[in-house]
Symmetry: C2
Subunit: 528 residues, 2 copies
């Protein structure tokens, strides 16, 4: 069993124990877990940033194959943690072991997908426009360019994905793949999981002969450590998954630096689902079952959890009845932390006491208040439009049905929606054709549109977009899942009239990496 | 001759004449030019934004071929302005007619390059990951994604490129190509040029059967109109070329909106040149002539004008003598505006009176103070490091030689440099090999590295990067020149399990546009 020591990982060193320690908590029992965790000091944060700055000078020139081996080694080291990781992560998050196993597999798959990406190498968007020394009135120079790494990236772990959006999750994997050192701020709710994964990454840095500082892991308060990190002159970008309040505070810091930096925050979303009448007629029970599964998956603690469901009022009786039964019969959940549980209860009781909202499920709270119940609410389209607060995210296994009389009522609602990670439409082919306008308006409000499915389950692949207009994310042009996530942590660099030996391999005449390049406007994977 | 009326272009209407009018000024004579120009009112700015918002709903779905025809029509309409445009732009900017002709050609070439880009269509980074309904433990959905347009873009014209970075310049061309309506804020120093080009664009919108609001042109103060534009909820991005103060003020506004928007400002740069000893030995006269031409081109009023030149002190006598003669013998220039002239004189006199700086050229100011003279200054590396203010941009035909004793003195200087659009190294192959470290550090401070050439002359092509770390630009990850400029005004949208008929053409199985797509991880321009 891997020994946990409760101290930050600063390059190849461990942090001190000067600060007041905090403990992880067993989400199931509320009991304190050992060891105690010590916050990184101001000097330690500074040291991590300086090591990262120094490591960047080497790591930014590390070839794709070398980075790929490093990423695969991280994945292997995480897998080697085996049951220790599953047990600890499950205890700290209240998520069942099979979910943690699946998330670990996803995290390692993700690391290996980025390894493939950088090993193959074409992702850098290499472009070459050859010289024409005889052009009139002026000769044309040789111009080449590609994406280069940005510099040290600060990554903030999410509470709800202790593996996939944490220490070696999507932000870290994509930043490392793109050639940037990473400084991770652990989430206080799963410090042991963070330490286990952190030591796995740190060992991979060492074993891959990469310089100290390519990776550090800091424990401590988000407000303090996070602020210091984002303000640090050597930190060149940030990645964050979490609350809107936390994300926006860090966004503001990033923008108000003397030298502003890009900050990618994935914040909040209610992921509306629109069920059109014929689809409901045809697949009432199937949609109810799918929706129930999507709302309650992982105790509803997903960024893509569907919090709003629009259903035709005339046809909704059987659907509502079925969903009500399913929600009421759902066993109670242990939530990620007491704080999240109490926020969920607050959200639920705001809906429960709202004059325009009716609670449909028959759940009753546990006497001891520890179990979280799935909750089903209903309102109608007019009330929804009149009460914008009903579009607020309730983080947990709750959803609000919004009944509509006629499809035209949906258009002003869609137009009034804030930016979302996802939106989903259930409709027959004929309905979708007839209601293309709904689709067209919706497309402009979201990062991903799902048809006749459910938004939870974010596939890790080249085409995935886990993003969306503000406030779903801080920069709706990007994605934090899928291979394009690496593009966030790059910048363009151009080389004019450089001798071949000075050029990065990606841009050399001989195309030694055999990558796809845009040469004089045509895509080619040949040499020049 | 095209009739100028001095009023904003609000969609297909013209603005009113309620505000206090301002006049363009003949840069050569100081005489007021007719007509008077009336600032857009608050209501007119709002109207332009609303028209743009409405037009977006149509324009974002306009096929690439249609957008290409529109961009080509703009280019044709600008060319049809002929001598009227040349005469007016030359009078308003003091730039000689041949320069204006060349810039017009460049502007039209740029519009046509973007037309080619969107007509061909592969630029949208289309990706398809096909479903695997039998995958265990969960089926894999069909996921497809591509870049989509962002929404109305506010473009701020530059003073120094009345065509190429103004009404139909790079920001406008790239935003329109990407499928976004554009609202241009004219530069007050060349309103007539702006109106001529604005009517050319507006006519192209109409003749291309595009909706009103795809283009508007506003006259008036940057502080007022610019602020209102960047704060307007319907405006989704901004593009700017100009001063650091102006760019930073707008950056802050964009970041502090309720819904922050991306803002791309290209601001300031001193574009250092590093001359290594053997290169100077071999090509002393050639480098002196090239440098003189680069510093004085367009009266030095370029973002890429080289303002700092590092030369080996031991070898610099002949070089300095030659450059001195050339600079002293350079005829005086008319600058873009009185304001720019007076700022140049201020910058020159700050260097002239600086204790660590010596003025080398023998220029004397005109008695009437209207002519701007090329200026050559010298300091040494130690003084340069001790006086950071010497790295401040002086906008105009001035350059500061910094002599160094040994190449090692350059490393701390390069490390201390602010972000730059460009850096240039002159060196023999052996020198560049030996001094790779200089190159490597420099690469991290700039958007473009030039070898044995000069930074002025920004080629319009697929691989160009006209960008660079802050404060050269607001977002050092992007470029405002070259086809990648269109990427700034896009965002990713993902489609999961959509029926083929609902998908954009770019993502349909049949690949009707025959574009390159990343299908299951492999690039292909075939159908599925």
């Amino acid at each position: 069993m891997q020994q946990l020591i409760g101290k930050s990982i600063i390059g190849f060193q461990r942090g001190g124990s000067d600060s007041r320690p905090v403990h992880g908590v067993n989400a199931f029992t509320g009991a304190e877990l050992t060891p105690a965790y010590f916050a990184a000091t101001v000097a330690e944060v500074d040291c991590a940033a300086k090591l990262a700055g120094k490591a960047f000078d080497v790591y930014r020139f590390t070839p794709g194959k070398h980075k790929a081996a490093f990423l695969r080694k991280i994945a292997g080291n995480i897998e080697a943690l085996g049951d220790d990781l599953i047990t600890r992560a499950s205890a700290e998050t209240g998520l069942p072991a099979p979910r943690i196993s699946a998330e670990t597999a996803r995290t390692c798959y993700q690391l290996r997908l980025f390894a493939e990406l950088v090993e193959e190498g074409s992702w850098v968007d290499a472009r070459i426009d050859r010289a024409d020394r005889d052009r009139q009135p002026l000769p044309r120079p040789d111009v080449r360019s590609m994406l280069r790494s940005l510099g040290p990236v600060a990554v903030f772990c999410a509470s709800n994905f202790p593996l996939a959006f944490s220490v070696a999750g999507g932000d870290t994997a994509s930043a490392l793949a793109a050639g940037n050192p990473v400084i991770v701020k652990a989430h206080h709710a799963h410090p042991g999981t963070a330490e286990l994964v952190g030591t796995a990454v740190s060992a991979a840095v060492r074993d891959s002969d990469l310089p100290e500082g390519v990776f550090s892991l800091l424990f401590g308060s988000g407000a303090e450590i996070g602020t210091q990190l984002i303000k640090h002159p050597l930190v060149r970008a940030g990645g964050f998954t979490g609350s809107r309040a936390g994300g926006q505070a860090l966004m503001k810091l990033a923008a108000s630096r003397d030298e502003p930096i890009p900050f990618f925050a994935e914040m909040s979303s209610v992921n509306p689902i629109f069920i059109l009448p014929d689809a409901l007629r045809e697949r009432e029970e199937q949609i109810a079952a799918g929706l129930h599964a999507s709302v309650t998956l992982g105790a509803g603690q997903f960024c893509t959890n569907p919090g709003l469901v629009f259903v035709p009022s005339k046809l909704s009786d059987g659907f509502v009845e079925s969903l009500k039964t399913k929600m009421t019969g759902t066993p109670s959940f242990t939530m990620l932390s007491r704080e999240i549980y109490s926020n969920y209860q607050k959200g639920i009781s705001q809906l429960e006491t709202h004059s325009a909202v009716e609670r449909l499920d028959g759940s009753v709270s546990d006497a001891n208040g520890a179990g979280c119940h799935a909750a089903l609410f209903r309102t109608d389209a007019n009330s929804f439009l009149a009460h914008p607060e009903l579009a607020t995210e309730v983080f947990g296994p709750s959803t609000l049905l919004v009944t509509y009389e006629h499809l035209d009522e949906l258009l002003p609602i869609v137009r009034s929606l804030e930016g979302q990670l996802t939106a989903t439409i259930h409709g027959t082919e004929a309905e979708l054709k007839e209601r293309y306008e709904l689709f067209a308006i919706l497309e402009n409000r979201v990062g991903r549109i799902v048809c006749n499915g459910f938004p939870t389950g974010v596939e890790v692949c080249h085409s995935m977009v886990h993003g969306g207009p503000f406030p779903a994310t801080s920069d709706g042009r990007s994605t934090s899942v899928g291979t394009r996530a690496a593009l966030r942590f790059t910048r363009l660099v151009c080389y004019q009239d450089l001798a071949d030996f000075l050029l990065p391999d990606e841009l050399k005449n001989s195309n030694p990496l055999k990558i796809w390049r845009l040469v004089d406007g045509e895509w080619s994977n040949e040499k020049l």
